[in-house]
């Protein structure tokens, strides 16, 4: 009896182990494979082709293996993102030409991708957050808004949350290792043609400028985080000159711009860092017709073709590898609240000092999209503390006793429900940490602007 039990137990154990081994071998995605987007000859607008864009995986370590199309059956598929464990794939696609764009998720090992049924228009650039949700750009949820904003959602499309409220276009997000979302901000105003990189916590709080440069033009594709704490991206120069592969150090992104693709004469469409110094490029050599996939080593200028453009232009690429999961955090956003607060240590500060001219500032004005929302007096130390309607873009300006603008208007900013946001000054040096003193304004309740705004949950 005892012996029979032992045999039975042993058999069950063996079968179990064997199944486990089988399962794990099935789930094995080659580390170092590359996922990239191919745009069909004729372009993405070719509505009658079997596909206009698709996502393909190749394994440079196995040149004998044919590239595998991961979006079989899709009319169009773009903007791939690979999960941190290197097993899953996010992309936007449409099965039929007439379908709306939608976010899909699938396994890199095979199987049918599943739609992420978020109720948004034109979703693009999905990316995995550290907490298992996704972030992507899409057109606003308020109907009138035609610009793109960033949203987060569960993989089943629920808990859809808009997290950026800039009146311009907010797109091409990636998730940094520290958990924040880095994205491209584009304003179609005549006074600014350059794109900027912004960074925001994924609950939409603490949005701030990450990178801007007077020589920059549009930022093509997504920015990417390198292994050595830089951010790489491709900039189209405003003059129409060749695109440039640019890196900035996360240590001081506003003042560390380096063009790393100087040796390249052709055209770069996108870049993905593969080592501390190497990149996968969607690149078209001088005289070439199509964008292929290349590996580029800036320190040697070495450029090696991995995939040519014969089957279609390579648009963007992603290295398949497991990476540390981005950090997650606990949000302070409280959906019950309709307001958030903003306090400033000294609205008169410029580059760490109170400039002579700024001493005239006596009042803070808060401007909304449609006009002046309200104003409040600055405290003697230049501080202010206001309660604002949440999820609403505002601009700030300081004025003197005559109502003349001293500084401003600022960039558009917003607060999320229950966010208590602090800033150093209105035109602060963005590399400054705050000085340590009690701001007079925070010793008092926040001033509501506009005066009728609903009370916050704080």
């Amino acid at each position: 009896m005892r012996r029979r039990t032992a045999v039975a137990f042993g058999s069950v154990l063996l079968v179990g182990l064997a199944s486990l081994a089988l399962l794990s071998s099935q789930g094995d995605v080659p580390d170092g494979a590359i996922v990239f987007t191919q745009v069909a000859p004729g372009g993405a607008d070719s509505a009658h082709a079997a596909w206009t864009s698709r996502i393909v995986m190749v394994d440079p370590g196995r040149p004998d293996q044919a590239p595998r199309v991961l979006t079989e059956g899709f009319h169009a598929a773009r903007h791939p993102a690979v999960s941190h464990d290197g097993q899953r794939l996010l992309f936007v696609g449409k099965r039929e030409p007439a379908d709306p764009w939608q976010v899909w998720e699938g396994s890199l090992t095979g199987g049918r991708p599943q739609p992420v049924a978020a109720d948004v228009r034109d979703p693009h650039y999905p990316a995995y957050l550290g907490d298992g949700r996704i972030v992507f750009s899409a057109r606003g949820d308020d109907g009138a808004d035609t610009m793109a904003a960033l949203f987060t959602a569960e993989l089943d499309g629920t808990r859809l949350t808009r997290i950026t409220y800039h009146p311009g276009t907010e797109t091409a997000p990636i998730v940094l290792r520290d958990g924040r979302v880095l994205y491209v901000s584009r304003v179609g105003s005549p006074d600014r043609t350059a794109d900027r990189l912004m960074v925001v916590r994924y609950d939409g709080t603490a949005s701030q400028l990450f990178y801007e440069h007077p020589a920059a033009g549009r930022i093509l594709d997504r920015p990417r985080e390198t292994g050595d704490a830089r951010v790489a991206f491709v900039e189209a120069a405003p003059s129409g000159a060749a695109n440039e592969l640019v890196t900035v150090s996360q240590g001081r992104p506003l003042h560390s711009r380096v063009v790393v693709g100087d040796a390249l004469d052709g055209s770069i469409a996108s870049a993905y860092p593969v080592t501390d110094s190497g990149f996968l490029l969607a690149y078209r050599p001088v005289g070439g017709e199509r964008f292929g996939l290349y590996e580029f080593r800036p320190e040697t200028g070495e450029l090696a073709a991995l995939v040519d453009g014969a089957d279609g232009d390579v648009e963007e690429s992603v290295l398949v590898t497991s990476r540390p999961r981005p950090k997650v955090f606990v949000s302070v956003v409280d959906r019950v609240s309709a307001t958030g607060t903003l306090f400033c240590l000294d609205a008169r500060l410029t580059d760490g000092r109170v400039a002579q001219g700024s001493r005239r500032s006596t009042t803070l004005q808060v401007w909304g999209v449609s006009g002046l929302l309200g104003e409040t007096a600055l405290e003697a130390d230049g501080s202010f503390h206001v309660e604002l309607a949440a999820n609403t873009p505002v601009r700030l300006a300081t004025v003197d006793t005559q109502g003349r603008v001293v500084r401003g208007p600022s960039d558009w900013i917003w607060v999320r429900p229950n966010e208590k946001r602090g800033c150093i000054g209105c035109h602060e040096d963005r590399e400054m940490a705050p000085s340590n003193r009690v701001p007079l304004a925070t010793e008092k309740p926040a001033v509501r602007i506009p005066p009728g705004a609903e009370e916050g949950g704080s």
Binding site: G130, D178, G179, A206, Q208, A229, S249, Q250, G251, R252, P253, L254, H255, S256, K327, V328, F329, V330, S331, V332, T341, F343, L345, D351, G352, R353, H385, K420, R421, G422, D429, R430, E431, M432, A433, P434, S435, N436, R437, V438, P439, T442, E443, K444, A446, S458
Partner: protein
Amino acid sequence: MRPRWVAAILAVTAVVILTPGFYFSRRHVRFMSGDDSAGLSCMPCHLYLQQGGLLARLRERDYLSPLHLAVSPDGSRLYVTAEEADALLVVDASDGTVLRRIAVGRQPHSVALHPDGRTAYVSNRWSNSVSVVDLPSGSVVDTLAVGGGPAGLALTRDGSLLYVANGTSDDISMLDLARGEERRRLSAGRSPQSVRLAPDGETVYVTSRYSNAVPYRTTPVTEVTVVSVDAGRVTRRATLRSAHDLEGIDFTPSGDLAVVTLVRPKNLLPATQVGRGWMLTFGIGVIEPGPDGRVIQLLLDEVNAFFADPFDVVIGAQGRRAFVTHSGADVVSVIDLEAVRELIEATPAESLAVYADHLGLSARYVVTRIPTGANPKGLALSPDGRRLYVAERLEDRLAVIDTEKLQVVETIALGGPRPNRIRRGARLFHSSDHTFQGQFSCRSCHPEGHHDALTYDLEPDGLGLHIVNNLSLRSLAYTAPYKWTGKNASLYRQCGFRFAKWLTRTEPYSLDELYSLVAYILSLSHEPNRYRAASGELTPVQQRGKALFQREWTNDGRPIPPENRCITCHPPPRFTNFQLAEVGSAGPSDAQGEFDTPHLDNLYGQAPYLHDGRAATLEEIWTKFGGDDRHGVVNDLTKAQLNDLIEYLKTLGGEPASEERGGR
């Protein structure tokens, strides 16, 4: 084990797991941990963490925790203080062999070598003494009494005098080594830490951990105390505004600059965010010698990365580079001092003041960051300057950095045991990895598990409201609830989800990490109480104070209601009744008047006092804020009686201090 017992244990387990007891138990775990997804887990709290319990004792291990080190003049030997092993380790620098383990006093901190290379002096923080070690024989030949909590040491050039920073008595002992006694005691900054002799041999610089006394809720100001060796007097107090936690110091070989490590806290700002240095920033102070020398602060952080808890600094023989350990970020920063000199020469004073908060500048003078093992602390250079030794405290290991290649080329394992739960908790506690962008570690505000003597404006209560006095984490076991409001039933709650939401602003600790972290915090205890005689007997003054603490009648014979007696809310052994109490201590920023009754262990070293830190001294608790007789009846006390009471309060908690020879 008898079958009956086995059956009983199985039965209890079955009851817990299979019946509603399971749900109750799980709910209990979730409540205590503050984690609504926590599974049922009894062991971490009820077995591992019971201080002094069987399992805790079984799990206690003999860690070394190398803290500071010195290199012999010929470079062949390393002398390493092993903080948790109460020993000085002698290590062969050529092959990393631990040649000798010399028992010294408790919690050794620093080691200084006599110029003749035959004698080492080791400061023993918990013994209030300096061990004199004869190196050839490897024996302690004398033990010299100094002030409280001796930390850094420095010998004069001729080896006749030893200066000792007394970290808990806030003074500097000047020891006459020929006579083997303390010649003089000088007033230092608060909690002095490191001591260095200037290259000209004429002055000794001493760093401080805490701010000097400043008015309530104003910018901390921390000093580097400069002592003239000839005069034996303090001749300068170089103050660093808005900075504290000055741990390490070194000089350039020419003596044109002294470099100290520093932390710039933002305790006066509402703690609504951590990014961009809104909680803390970390850097160096550059001090020019002479009475009017400038004191300049520069950050070692970057805009999106912070390098927490700088601890020690050494400057290379050419004076070109400084090396700084960041004990929370587990890196060594390499600083180009030429770039620092250029920067401070080319910059007007007004701009230099602004630079103290500038996160972008480090790119100009930080050459690289060299990753190390957990909790890098003390540094020492080989005599030829080519090897930099780093004490990796929570690895029980030394790292060897090649100062040309700027990378770790070797590690020297000192022989500590494998990390247990408490040790893993220690690593979590000291690592900034669990705060957004590495902004701070638990240690940043609780050095050595203690406090930072600052008050904070935390966000959850609203801006400018409920200012809180940051408390020591030592001797917290069995003192729940936690927080001044008594909101948290356990430290798991205190350090869990809400902590991540409102303070670290990044991932909460996993449940396993939380258990380890709490295990570590609960293992912390205060230093021996230097106000208690080794015999345990109270002095007449302390006895009079004790009588007042326990009194039931006023001086004029009126009965004191039980709720207004000291002893009612602060009964032994922990001197707390674990209850909330309203004692009229609410301040202008408080919406409530009830606060958790704190325990009173080692109260003498925990200023400021009260929940919001308004009382700068123990006296002020009653002279300024106890006027309504609710926080104990005190209005009938004479000033002399209040003095007696305070002398008694200082004796509470901690084990008695041991007696050392030669005390003054």
